[in-house]
Symmetry: C2
Subunit: 355 residues, 2 copies
């Protein structure tokens, strides 16, 4: 019966009628334009509030030719039954949500299968979003490159790769690896095992840091002390269990995520190996969980809030025609119970002093 498709939601024309002005005036008043008389403006704003009016965003976008929404895509590897992959991504997601809302943007969350990665172009093409933040780049470097070169504003959380033409934000993975390893060396450890799959760009960089630290201290990488543990929880557990079943010839672990470190801790504990006395463990990400478990976890912190800001800025910047950039954020080591610095005798300090 009713003439309009959309249900009886109040809209500008209603307000205009009640206030006895035209729709234009209502529009301007609500937009805070100076073109409208102060008094009328107040009256209209008041009225709108009392009617709980909020303007149809679709129509606004249509008219203005732009949206205030940013799409955030989370990877979903086909093999992975976990709803959301890594707690770290979640933490980042949370920060992103806050950063976006505090700057007046809406957040459209999408999980995409790695295979459908190309489809996300539609998010922008359809005007749903003005740009895209991609969390986790190992969904096909080339796909992101293609997207970016086609003019889709994207910013990616990941590692800086050579030949990237897309905007990329990441932490200083190399430094992170270095800090962690140096700390373990300072703890007097000699056989530091690296846990992580170096096929992933970020892990590869952390590995370089690991190697650098070893070399800087007169050591070198022992191939027997590296294990390609995947990030995904269950697979990681399997791989670690398998690893520990075959070797216990290490006195420290450097894990590429806190989740991995925690799982390793659990498996070591089950074998009666004590952390940190027998084995020191350093994780990565500094999840809030890291300070909740036993033993609390020494970890490499990534500046999440800064990352979120940088990603948002990145999307907007690219959208304005800015060229792709790399933003590398600092990392720092947070020391907790899972590692134990030796008493001053053999610490980094004495390394400075000539023996």
């Amino acid at each position: 019966m009713s003439k309009n498709l959309t249900s009886n939601k109040t809209q500008m024309v209603d307000i205009a009628r009640i206030a006895g002005v035209s729709v234009s005036t209502v529009s301007r008043a609500l937009a805070g334009s100076t073109l409208v008389n102060d008094e009328t403006r107040k009256r209209i704003v008041e009225l709108a509030k009392s009617l709980r009016f909020s303007a149809n965003v679709g129509a606004q976008n249509l008219r203005r030719g732009q949206s205030q929404t940013i799409a955030v895509v989370l990877p979903k590897s086909t093999a992975d039954q976990q709803p959301v992959s890594d707690p770290f991504f979640i933490a980042l997601l949370g920060e992103l949500a806050d950063a976006l809302t505090s700057r007046g943007y809406d957040m459209l969350l999408t999980r995409v299968d790695e295979a459908q990665i190309d489809d996300i172009e539609g998010l922008v093409g359809s005007g749903r979003a003005l740009g895209i933040v991609v969390i986790g780049q190992w969904l096909h470097h080339y796909a992101l490159t293609a997207l970016s070169s086609r003019g889709i504003p994207i910013a990616v959380w990941g590692a800086a790769l050579p030949g990237s033409n897309y905007f990329i934000v990441g932490s200083d993975n190399r430094l992170g690896g270095q800090l962690a390893t140096q700390h373990l060396i300072d703890c007097g450890r000699k056989k530091i095992m690296f846990l992580g799959d170096t096929r992933l760009p970020e892990v590869a960089l952390r590995f370089e840091g690991y190697r650098d630290a070893l070399i800087a201290n007169g050591g070198m990488v022992n191939p027997g002390l590296t294990a390609a543990i995947p990030f995904e929880a269950k697979a990681a557990r399997r791989a670690l269990a398998d690893l520990f079943a075959h070797t216990s010839d290490f006195d420290a672990l450097f894990a590429c995520s806190d989740l991995m470190a925690m799982t390793a801790n659990a498996l070591l504990a089950a074998r009666g190996i004590r952390v940190p006395q027998d084995v020191c463990v350093v994780g990565y990400d500094d999840l809030s969980l890291a300070s909740q478990v036993h033993p609390t976890l020494t970890s490499v912190r990534q500046p999440l809030a800064d990352a979120a800001q940088a990603l948002l800025d990145g999307v907007l910047y690219v959208r304005e025609g800015g060229a792709a950039k790399m933003v590398i954020l600092p990392t720092g080591l947070v020391e907790r119970e899972s590692t134990l610095r030796r008493s001053a005798t053999k610490s980094a300090k004495s390394a400075q002093t000539k023996k």
Copy 2:
């Protein structure tokens, strides 16, 4: 110079021109209408794909008078500096994301301060979303009631409260509490401590289940064996540390979240108390993490995927004018290392037999 505000994105008129048909035909073809000749349809669909065209969703919504987006709001308590409160919510969020996308809806993620909870009405009022899923109801029961009675389609994850006029989905908290407690009793435990803030509706129900189980086994609640531990990680840690500093007169813990249980485990371990030998611990939620830590955590599982489906169904149902309902999902106990069933001698079985 260009006449149109929106940048040079391809739109229907472009396709129409190239294909030599009218916009209407393009629209119909892409919508799969039978009104258009099979051959022309194919040609147009092909063309659209090759141009990577996707229709402007804003315009579609405007014209159709409805959107295909569902807003999901996550609580953000003002005091809480954690980006996203509880890992459980995250897991649910992930399931929601999958449920929504697999049914063709977009997901608009919003974090709201508890104070701004009323503002979420605008999400629907502005046509951005067709309905709202609220995760965590203890942001003001009354606000949700008001929202719902004003006709905003919402579905809430939480506990069934008397006098709710909004659609609510929750697990059977009472049963969960019962199962956990009964299991601890079956483990031969006598002093089972309840950890959780019973001011929260869900916790209150779990407590009832706890009480019921005690009574069913000829016991009763000992007020000294309940502690109002909050959910938020840091506060929980403080409260637990404080608790354990004052009492150790318990042989089992029933914690209202896995996070709480893990933290308790960590603090107990630091005090040299062994789990499960000295103290058995049951958590709640069955996070994927529960099977990663040491000892792996016995926990009450909530059916996340079902929950997500039910929430989505709920929003749609309410939007179609359906009356508010309560959906209570089953729970189950997952036994792991943190509890240890006694050998048959003193188990539940013998409780049946007359002494």
